[in-house]
């Protein structure tokens, strides 16, 4: 299939040029996914998905058109090229469009992106992984009712980017995710939580650890209460930072949003935007990491880009379009969730450099505050204001974790959150493209009721 994808990509380029395209890009994927879902601790769905398709971008001068088709048959690709040309012809010329990607550099070799075991996994193995996780959760909850949900997904994907500017990239990558939700107890005494792990290789997924942790996380939330509102210190663990930094910070670095003035980090390059404790990178070449890849979604080589150093903002995240507009180099940050989506800008792996304090040490220094272990929320990207529901969190009193919290929110601007980060922990966790320890924020507004 691999060589065939390159050939199909080349066919798309030739066909589009024949129809009058001045530039063309073909992005092809062939993916096999094995998936198992559980409900009430039992296997509910097993799935094998074979997906192959192509996304096409063409330029007629400065007019751009995009298409995709859920097929890798030549006649379907030809139709898709025709669609992209029609879309370009009807579009308004964009003076900011210069070119699709070209590069003089070769692609870096990133180790640990492909695992043979995952590539060849079958449904029965996946079921076995899942049942082990379920048992581990049950072992923790003992005799109590424990309604377990979750799933295991294993994906093996070959990506190809070919364009008329000389780009020709092929990469085979595997990844898997196992997640377990445990809802323990009944009625008002019911508590629930989850744990998950993403990895590019099967051996790294330990079903027992994930199952047990999801149940332990759930039990810790039992007896949740509200608390007194007020301004106080806030500790965010990696599980909470996945959304707060992974979305709330990364999206604000998107150079297209910056160019449109829709980010709280506009005009901040070179400025002190964070406490000097904070050092953050975007690292697309980290061996084995989930967001690593040899080239981005446009075929630009992956790299390691400094984002915050000693509290100073070093770079925005660019793709070919935004970098050409600003006259800077691309950071290789084009992202595409599939050939069915158009490229956007995002981080590869967001990496926060750890500090020296353990989470317990950070907690012990708080007289009254909140430990937030999970939230989903994202800020208003224009103003940076973040009001986040504490989905999972605890009251801290006199340096010790007290009861779990319910109906409690924290409010802070992202600007303050970054500046008031006074401590960075040593407890690094790698959660789906966000690799960070816990951080301690000097003060946030806690509302509870």
């Amino acid at each position: 299939m691999k060589q065939e994808l390159i050939e199909l990509g080349t066919h798309v380029i030739n066909h589009a040029e024949k129809l009058g395209a001045t530039q063309v890009e073909a992005y092809l994927e062939s993916t096999r996914t094995i998936e198992v879902k559980i409900e009430k601790g039992l296997i509910r769905l097993a799935a094998e998905k074979l997906d192959a398709g192509c996304g096409v971008r063409v330029a007629l001068g400065n007019q751009l058109g995009v298409s995709y088709v859920t097929s890798a048959l030549e006649k379907d690709l030809d139709q898709s090229v025709q669609d992209a040309i029609s879309a370009a012809r009807a579009s308004v010329a964009d003076p900011d469009f210069k070119s699709f990607v070209s590069t003089q550099s070769s692609y870096p070799t990133v180790k640990g992106l492909f695992d043979k075991e995952l590539d060849q996994i079958d449904c029965e193995q996946a079921v076995e992984m899942m049942t082990r996780a379920v048992q581990a959760s049950k072992d923790v909850s003992g005799k109590e009712r424990n309604l377990i949900e979750g799933g295991f997904t294993a994906e093996s994907k070959t990506r190809v980017v070919v364009n008329s500017q000389g780009i020709s990239g092929l990469s085979s990558e595997t990844k898997s995710e196992l997640e377990v939700y445990s809802a323990i107890g009944t009625g008002d005494d019911q508590c629930s939580s989850w744990d998950d792990l993403n990895s590019r290789n099967l051996a790294a997924i330990n079903p027992e650890t994930i199952g047990a942790k999801s149940a332990r996380n759930a039990l810790a939330l039992r007896g949740a209460q509200s608390m007194d509102s007020g301004d106080m210190p806030l500790i965010l663990t990696p599980r909470a930072l996945w959304a707060v930094l992974g979305t709330g910070f990364v999206n604000a670095l998107n150079a297209r949003q910056i160019q449109d003035g829709k980010s709280y980090l506009v005009d901040s390059l070179g400025s002190q935007i964070a406490g000097s404790e904070l050092e953050i990178f975007d690292n697309g070449i980290l061996p084995g990491a989930l967001g690593s890849r040899p080239f981005d979604a446009e075929g630009y080589p992956s790299q390691r880009t400094s984002l915050i150093d000693s509290g100073i903002l070093q770079n925005y995240l660019h793709d070919s379009y935004s970098s050409a507009k600003d006259g800077v180099s691309s950071t290789g940050s084009a992202k595409r969730s599939s050939y069915r989506a158009t490229p956007t800008i995002g981080a590869s792996n967001l990496v926060v450099t750890p500090g020296t304090s353990t989470l317990d040490e950070m907690i012990s220094e708080v007289n009254q505050g909140v430990l937030c272990t999970f939230t989903f929320d994202r800020p208003n990207f224009v103003t940076g204001e973040l009001s986040a529901m504490i989905m999972e969190g605890f009251l801290i009193l006199k340096g010790e974790v007290q009861h779990a919290l319910k109906n409690t929110l924290f409010g802070i601007t992202m600007q303050d959150l970054l500046k008031k980060t006074i401590q960075v922990g040593s407890d690094v966790e790698n959660r789906a493209q966000v690799i960070t320890p816990s951080i301690s924020v000097e003060s946030a507004k806690i509302t509870s009721g």
């Binding site: 009430k40 094998e48 998905k49 995009v66 088709v69 449904c123 809802a183 103003t383 204001e385 989905m391």
Partner: protein, 461 residues
């Protein structure tokens, strides 16, 4: 097409499945993104293929293929049936899929059908809307129009004898306006949709697409961030609709009940809120973006009254959840595309209006906050907690509207929130939104009247 669907069903049954179904889809999509009359991504897409499911003794297997030749379908159906047999070895709860079958053809009719209208025409329309929005005020910096349309031909067939072909056309407009003055930059958006063709949206709503986002964004220029605290809240129709959707609708989806952990698990037939509350999910309303005749399993859909006079009265079911809970399938199964298995979903979800006049309600509230529109929201039906974020709002002091505020969020527990609704207004509005569940996006409508909630925590900065 029937030879293909029959082949899939026979192959699956012969391989040992007790129930088999197939969705054969051909979809054409147009996505436009026009900013200040300049097109950004103009996308024309084709999604076509077959999704097949097999059921054995309480376990499901699913797979899809874009190879819809006889050979491709046969291979997929056989492998999927075998997976179901493998999975069923671990099944404990055994039941069969039992449901009525349907045979029908629903044609797509529109004065200006979306599949026959050139993209040029659609772009011109989006450009005009963008131009009109730009001209609303000199402080409008970005007038963005997102336009999406989807034309689908879907065949659904199953081993119970269902064979339904349904053609649909959906259109959604999402206008977004960014305004800027010397002090700040603010933005607001709206989403309106329909099933039908181009030109089917009323003139009033077309005008609203341009005026409403710019009006709201301009009002936010003088806004303050809301102070966190416990407030009496008046929610506007959009926020009310989202709250019903998030806080209540998801807990009424059949699969959140079969999991055994929904907070509504044992509540059927019991009171979940005051007597003046009536909630519906209705895919049969003509012309809304989430309207359909048959669901993605080929079950004829119907209007569902989730809450009747404060009492929980109906859930939303797929064939699976209905069979399993020994209830009747009511046509709520939807799949994003053939690449996903159908699951119980909401469609057009709303609260029935009451008898309060909005201005009288504001006067009666004395101190509080009006919260409007939705940035986003989510819910955890296991914990019973939800949260959503409004776009804009206004404080109420001494019974009068005062300062404009932004970004207020509201959080709570599903079972606590309905009892807190003490007043329901006599107005009504509906808007479109996209809802994501289990990785599947679906267009939905949600709405209702203005309502008042007593003493709820509101998050601020």
């Amino acid at each position: 097409m029937e030879d293909i669907t029959n082949l899939a069903i026979e192959t699956g049954l012969n391989a040992g499945a007790s129930f088999v179904d197939i969705r054969l889809e051909y979809t054409r999509k147009t996505n436009l993104d026009v900013v200040n009359e300049v097109t950004r991504n103009t996308i024309l897409a084709t999604e076509k293929g077959a999704g097949i499911r097999a059921f054995v003794d309480g376990s499901w297997a699913f797979g899809y293929t874009s190879d819809v030749t006889k050979q491709g379908i046969q291979k997929a159906a056989e492998s999927i049936a075998k997976m179901a047999i493998t999975a069923s070895k671990w099944a404990e709860e055994r039941y069969e899929i039992e449901a009525p079958s349907f045979q029908d053809r629903i044609e797509y009719k529109a004065k200006t059908p979306i599949d026959e209208t050139p993209v040029d025409y659609k772009i011109e329309q989006a450009k005009q809307l963008s131009k009109d929005m730009s001209q609303m005020d000199t402080r409008v910096k970005s007038a963005r129009i997102i336009y999406r349309d989807v034309y689908t031909e879907l065949y659904v067939a199953n081993s119970l004898g269902t064979m339904v072909k349904e053609e649909t056309g959906q259109i959604v407009f999402i206008p977004m306006c960014t305004v800027k003055d010397e002090k700040s930059t603010q933005q607001a958006h709206l989403a309106l949709g329909l099933t039908g063709g181009l030109g089917d949206m009323s003139d009033d709503l077309m005008l609203m697409l341009v005026e409403e986002p710019s009006r709201v964004a301009l009002s936010l220029l003088d806004s303050k961030a809301v102070k966190g605290g416990v407030y009496d809240v008046i929610a506007d129709p959009a926020l009310n609709g989202a709250m019903i959707h998030e806080a209540f609708g998801h807990a009424c989806e059949g699969d959140s009940l079969t999991g055994g952990s929904s907070v509504l698990q044992e509540k059927m037939g019991t009171s979940v809120g005051p007597e003046h509350i009536n909630l519906f999910d209705d895919p049969t309303m003509k012309g809304h973006v989430a309207s359909f005749v048959y669901d993605w399993e080929g079950t004829r859909t119907k209007r569902k009254q989730l809450v009747k006079d404060g009492v929980l009265s109906e859930f939303m079911h797929s064939l699976d959840t209905a069979s399993r809970l020994e209830m009747k399938a009511n046509g709520a199964a939807r799949a994003m595309t053939f690449m996903y298995p159908p699951i119980p979903r909401m469609s057009n979800t709303f609260m029935e209006p009451g008898d309060w006049n909005l201005e009288e309600l504001i006067e009666d509230t004395k101190e509080g906050i009006i919260m409007c529109n939705v940035n986003y929201g989510y819910t955890d039906s296991t914990k019973g907690s939800f949260m959503f974020k409004s776009v804009h709002g206004q404080l109420i002091e001494n019974g009068e509207r005062t300062d404009i505020v932004r970004d207020a969020s509201i959080a709570g527990q599903i079972l606590d929130i309905l009892p807190k609704i003490d007043a329901i207004c006599n107005d009504f509005f509906y808007d479109a939104g996209s809802c994501g569940t289990q990785g599947q996006m679906a267009w939905v409508m949600s709405g209702g009247p203005h309502i008042r909630l007593r003493q709820v925590p509101v998050g601020g900065v």
